[in-house]
């Protein structure tokens, strides 16, 4: 009798825990939905925080240039070098510029830029807003009728949305330059010939889809970083958690978006 009662109690506790978790998950989903909705509402309503948007574009875009340059250049060299081996087997090394350009424009540049930005910018936004929340700076803005959401969230999301595609285009250029150095070193291809082959291989849809994808990635990084930071729990642990989950969640969403966009672009192609 007693063991039966205990078993029923255990089952109920399990169900209770499950319902609590589901409740929390759906609650979180609703909060994100409301957060994004508020962003669109606030972003298009004056007054605009123009100066802060420019400042954030500088922080997010210009300050990421060294990292993006280094990564893009190395990717260009390494990818070209590794691809040569396969193409050389059937004497197709003259196709290297075309292969590199398609790979970089269609997949590598948007994805790598987004991942770098999620790591560098996403964690920075999560930690910054998280510590502002913990030290009551967000509350201080709120009580002085200064709309912290517009000043902190809208500006950062807009900056990431516009800076990630810009960084992606820059990475395309740097990675192709890296590829050119490697191709020139081994195949003695001239700069003009290399770039003619590069541009011949890439279509408008390739560039267009990558830019659109990057806008989406940038928006995702900004929204996730701001959401996690803005809603971080109190204490230093909350700040660390906000920074960490900003990166993890943004990367997870970027991969899903990449997969979905691949399906759409393939269908269009």
């Amino acid at each position: 009798m007693n063991s039966n009662t205990n078993q029923v109690k255990e089952e109920n506790r399990g169900r209770h825990l499950l319902s609590k978790r589901l409740d929390r998950a759906f609650g979180e989903l609703y909060n994100i939905y409301a957060f994004v909705g508020r962003f669109f509402k606030e972003a298009f309503m004056p007054p605009y925080e123009g100066r802060e948007i420019i400042k954030q574009c500088y922080e997010i875009g210009v300050k990421s240039l060294p990292l993006v340059s280094l990564t893009g250049f190395i990717i260009g060299i390494v990818f070209t070098n590794q691809s040569r081996v396969s193409l050389a087997e059937f004497g197709g090394t003259s196709w290297l510029p075309a292969l590199i350009s398609v790979a970089i424009v269609r997949a590598l540049a948007p994805l790598v830029t987004a991942i770098i930005s999620a790591g560098k910018v996403g964690s920075q936004i999560g930690a910054e807003l998280g510590s502002m929340k913990v030290t009551e700076q967000i509350d201080a803005m709120e009580v002085s009728a200064s709309n912290p959401f517009r000043f902190l969230v809208v500006t950062r999301v807009l900056a990431t949305t516009f800076m990630v595609p810009s960084l992606m285009m820059y990475m395309v250029f740097v990675a192709l330059l890296g590829g050119y150095i490697n191709v020139h070193q081994h195949e003695l291809t001239s700069f003009t010939t290399y770039f003619i082959q590069v541009f011949n291989a890439v279509t408008f849809l390739d560039v267009f889809s990558s830019v659109i994808k990057s806008f989406l990635f940038g928006f995702t990084i900004g929204v996730v970083g701001c959401y996690k930071g803005y809603n971080s729990s109190k204490g230093t642990q909350g700040v660390g958690k906000a920074a960490n989950t900003s990166v993890v969640m943004a990367m997870f969403l970027i991969f899903i978006e990449e997969l979905l966009s691949l399906q759409i672009i393939t269908a269009l192609r």
């Binding site: 030290t135 700076q137 009728a145």
Partner: protein, 257 residues
Amino acid sequence: MKKVTSQIDKSQQVITIRGLKKSFDEFDILKGVDLDLYQGENLVVLGRSGTGKSVLIKIISGLLKADSGLVNVLGCDMNKITPKEINTLRLKIGFSFQNSALYDSMTIRENLEFPLTRNRKDLSQQERDQMVEMVLEAVGLSQSINQMPAELSGGQRKRIGIARTLILQPQIMLYDEPTAGLDPITSIEINKLINEVQQRFNTSSIIITHDLTCARDTGDRIVMLLDGQFQRQGTFDEVFATDDERVKAFYNYNFTD
């Protein structure tokens, strides 16, 4: 004892609270609080940590919502207030945070200008500069105008926090633990500043503290929050003239070490 004479207008209530209740999860923090704040009065809310003192002023400023009860601030019912109305009301309320909450990526000038540029678009840059200089002079830190918050001491940060709230010329000041974490001399200076603000800007204030020196030096009236309700109220001497062991323990801990 409070040195300055306050001009309290008992016929004019700026804050009225009746039966205020607030709980977090299963914890009942405020269990039916009643409070009146009069024009020109410094009201001190005393109580131990975690008794809901900060929750009370966060409800008054609209940062938190009450579960039930009436909260009327300058004629506005906080339960029915719209987002637009609350922004207008907040211009009349100054909130000095426990840890000052200065924006650490901005200079002191930018910290002080921040609420002005967003709420007083009618002012020219010259007028803004004058207001910044005026409030800095009021808190005695004119020389810190171009410093970053990280370069200031705890007491200076508190002063700048108060200056930032004064810049919008509020009618009500809410101080959250103004002397917490400060040495006794700096605490006395902050207490004097609170009284000076009351006199110079004719503000009504609620001062949340567990520091009895602060309560004695700044309060025109003192209320004591115990078990989620106000148990005692009156002048400093009236509040502590009791046999209630909880109140006596609070006094003894502060003054007989």
